[in-house]
Symmetry: D2
Subunit: 322 residues, 4 copies
């Protein structure tokens, strides 16, 4: 239900306005050094904050205020550098123990009173109503589990997966390739700013490329590589579609024309070439223009980029351990 | 690996040119009557055969020769109608026992010698090479597990799932909505025939609608309804993309414009309205025009329609039992 | 790996001398009120502390010093009594949200320096050496994951399961029925004290009875009720055997003599009568008499009683949700 | 439900008096040669038939009549010896393809009329009644799924697992060590014959030893090696208890006395020494003396020996692939 993967098994927990969000990542081999700098960087990227600590265009100012500090509860041990035979300025490092890695990010900005009005209201285009239908009650404070804040835990777990992949020579890179009708990357900020000024929002398409994946990853029948990637990516809030290789656009091409274009996958199994897929994110529906108060992003696709990478990384470490 | 779902757990087995293909469907409640007529009809639909026993446009003549007869090995008992309190012309009926339902479809048309040349050859655009990379050896006879014939087992299991859904008032209907650039259904046969004449093939888009699904189906984080459907559908051979609700086309719409369009799902959970998704199938790459001998379909999307329904049905019975 | 159950899925984490131990319990329905008093009581029972806060005979004094305070991180909401329509002295209550319940117990008594000598030593009869063989490195501080402290998280999760079972009229009761050769309950403290005086330890047998379990729980082939219970109980540290119904003692009885004795289970499925099983706990091998310094219990079986109940409760909620 | 293991995943199907019993074994690597002679031998051993084709003492004559012939449906390919570079008298051999291995054993001796009287009767000590309580209906023909015949499929799958283990230098050997109160192996046949003459039955204890298991197998918390073995063995019909190492008998020993006796497992993980466990099988309760007509075994423990080995083998291949 709240667990992804069975080899590197990631369990996510936490309400956006409860005490903390967090996760447990089980199945990570012992002896992996955790790159805390990479994690800090990816969490900033997810928040839509630049290296200078400023929000990128279209991102809600709330992002800047949340520190996103990771507290490591288990599964790691601080090992002094001299024990590792490394000589540098840092005193110690976190190394995995092979036991479940639990971590939390406390919710410092929790102001439930901002959301008190939501207690008896359902926001259109949000999950408020279906949650109440499913569970009988809900944590009305800021969306609870449905909040995009939950993706911070995915990013932390995804970073650990990425480090394992890097060690195997596998690199994942996602980037925004379309905002509204705009496909020129240099004009994305401008396009987003225009929607923001009108109290509105706009969708985007993210393209993700996987380099260095060996041939043979994926299972031939149900657990095809493309099915696993689609599952992972479609589980991200606001994602409305997934395609790979020739995708939807390829419908107008003949078999003889597309012969040889694999998207890096044949019969559900990686073929050793670059894997490429694309996914689309809808604009947030709760905007001032739609009559919904509160903080919102003008283009959630911007902040989804590192989440797409994280889910891709978690998918791959699970398939590689098969 | 070859199992789909954990409540209604379906395991598929069989090579296209081995003794038989088949499946085991575990988790089906006891007392469900199996509609053998529906299964026969859906298997014909999957083969691309009309009610008159003739292939529909673009379907390889091989389809007509394969009888696709289901042999039920376990999990069902013939119950005489008088025991069930039913009076009609049929003498007996198959009723599920609550134990695993195993069935096979023998491969009557197995002619491995047709494929002997493949033993030392990899077909471009097929899984031949990656299978050998993954497993070290492969069943070269007609694609082995990668053959589309495997989907017949999915259709049988999907029919049993559909019957359970029907009893709950849930209906699934998929149909071809685009062939190449053509979106006028009355012109699909013509379009396909044109590609067939040139020894080529063409892709298609299938749209699937789910009626009667109650609110509350799907899990909020990873096992979102859309993620489960994407996983199921992307596991079908030749499927290159999945989208729901506003999909890829919605990228150019503003948040205020799409507000209220849910595609039947909010926050990963069904909202009680019609669920609609679309998926795209690429044309088969092994065509005479591409220099590949052998039997092929001019538009595999035609035959994928009942498979999309079957995988959707299997997804839903698994989520409804949660 | 560190997860038990797939319906009420419990993930345990934490090293005994790290920051915290804890768990995530996923799959608990929304609206269950958590009985914090019961949890406090069961944690004391697990520590071997009486109602007066004193250790019971044979329990290491370390137990008294550890406060075992549960911090609830997610999955619950404080609901004021007037919202629940209850009028009593307590101001508020924890109610489950249907989302993953994460909790931690901080390790207040962590004194790694006590265990520094273990860094380069393997204790006989402990898991120190196999951990290093399995993982390449280990958390040498007090046994890490192998510590019995991990069972505190099981007890917390088990209490929530017990409350669900109570609401269904199902009661679990385990008790010590043998210590060494002694089967007279009134002499257990005396027997344990005798071993303690000699710096030694002794084993014990626990009997567990389940009342009110409806007929039909358990699966007929692999997931038989007795197999699931054996799995759960044998996963507790120091447990060396499990038996139910006629057990090992029944080997000398004829079929006609035992006819009718079911132990509450037939063909792997509960038959609606009381279920009874027994399990044996070996004495801790690291005692002063065996030349091992440090704190130890003279009879670990004493403290295992609530853990047996907790694992039984977790087993049953998982099977009942099938 | 009817599946064991997640790496080498074995699904069992079939009613004892339906068309066939069988199984699907998924996850077996490609290129393993299947030793059909070993499978034939183990199936005979399970039936209680000697090399001369005669039933061993106490075994029902029905056993001799059932041919237990395995039909391989998928997952294997016949490879001619010259392709394998082997020169001997046999023409070909079965080699695994890495795809699911499906096999069936047809029920040739099906005589449902023998059991017609059971349609409206529940046998005491059998699962007849609980099945009907659980499923609402049941296959009354000879116990259906609850029949011991189902274990033939486990033996076939277990043989394939054993071959993989042999290749890794791991050997499993189970044997009967006690029948009733008798522990002298030379007197077992005599003891069983005495019960048989009286139309009665008697229980037995089986001891199983695993040689060559490397250190590190098993998981430290829930999936301890002993918990997995207990689960596997307790899933065999008529098994009433499991113990390892010092077992139940060790309850009277002090910690200092048993220090060093591990039973091959420490902290849930194999320690590289021989693993030893024991399990007890109750006598069948449906005997002429208890007033139950029909065919029965005087000591089911005799025939359980290869089933214990099979379940042990399936457990180990699953844990070794972790």
């Amino acid at each position: 239900m709240n667990t992804f993967g069975d080899k590197w098994s990631f369990t996510s927990f936490g309400e956006s306005h409860g005490k903390a969000i967090g996760g447990v990542l089980d199945g990570v081999p012992a002896g992996l050094r955790i790159d805390l700098e990479m994690i800090r960087g990816e969490l900033l990227r997810r928040k839509g904050v630049t290296g200078d600590g400023l929000p990128v265009t279209g991102v809600s100012p709330r992002a800047v205020r949340e520190p996103d500090e990771v507290e490591w509860l288990s599964g790691v041990i601080e090992i002094k550098n001299y024990e590792l035979g490394i000589t540098n300025e840092r005193v110690s490092e976190l190394v995995t123990l092979g036991t479940p890695i639990a971590f939390i990010i406390r919710n410092k900005d929790a102001r439930p009173e901002d959301y008190e009005w939501l207690k008896y209201t359902y926001r259109v285009g949000h999950a408020d109503k279906v949650y109440e239908q499913k569970y009988g009650l809900r944590d009305w404070r800021g969306g609870g589990r449905a909040s995009a804040r939950e993706t911070a835990a995915r990013v932390v777990a995804g970073c650990i997966a990425k480090q394992e992949l890097q060690a195997k020579g596998i690199a994942i890179e996602a980037r925004l390739v379309q905002v509204g009708a705009e496909t020129d990357e240099t004009k994305f900020a401008e396009t987003i700013a225009a929607y923001q000024r009108e109290g509105d929002s706009i969708g985007g398409i993210i393209e993700c490329r996987i380099q260095g994946l060996p041939a043979g990853v994926g299972e031939p029948i149900f657990n095809k590589l493309q099915a696993e990637l689609a599952f992972a990516v479609m589980s991200i809030n606001a994602c409305k579609g997934f395609e790979y290789g020739t995708g939807f656009g390829g419908v107008t091409e003949s078999g003889s024309a597309i012969n040889g274009i694999s998207g890096g996958i044949a019969g559900g199994i990686s073929d050793g070439t670059e894997v490429m897929f694309r996914c689309v994110f809808k604009p947030t529906p709760s905007t001032p223009k739609a009559g919904v108060k509160g903080r919102h992003d003008a283009c959630v696709a911007t902040r989804a980029v590192p989440v797409v990478e994280a889910m891709t990384a978690l998918t791959l470490v699970n398939l590689l351990n098969c």
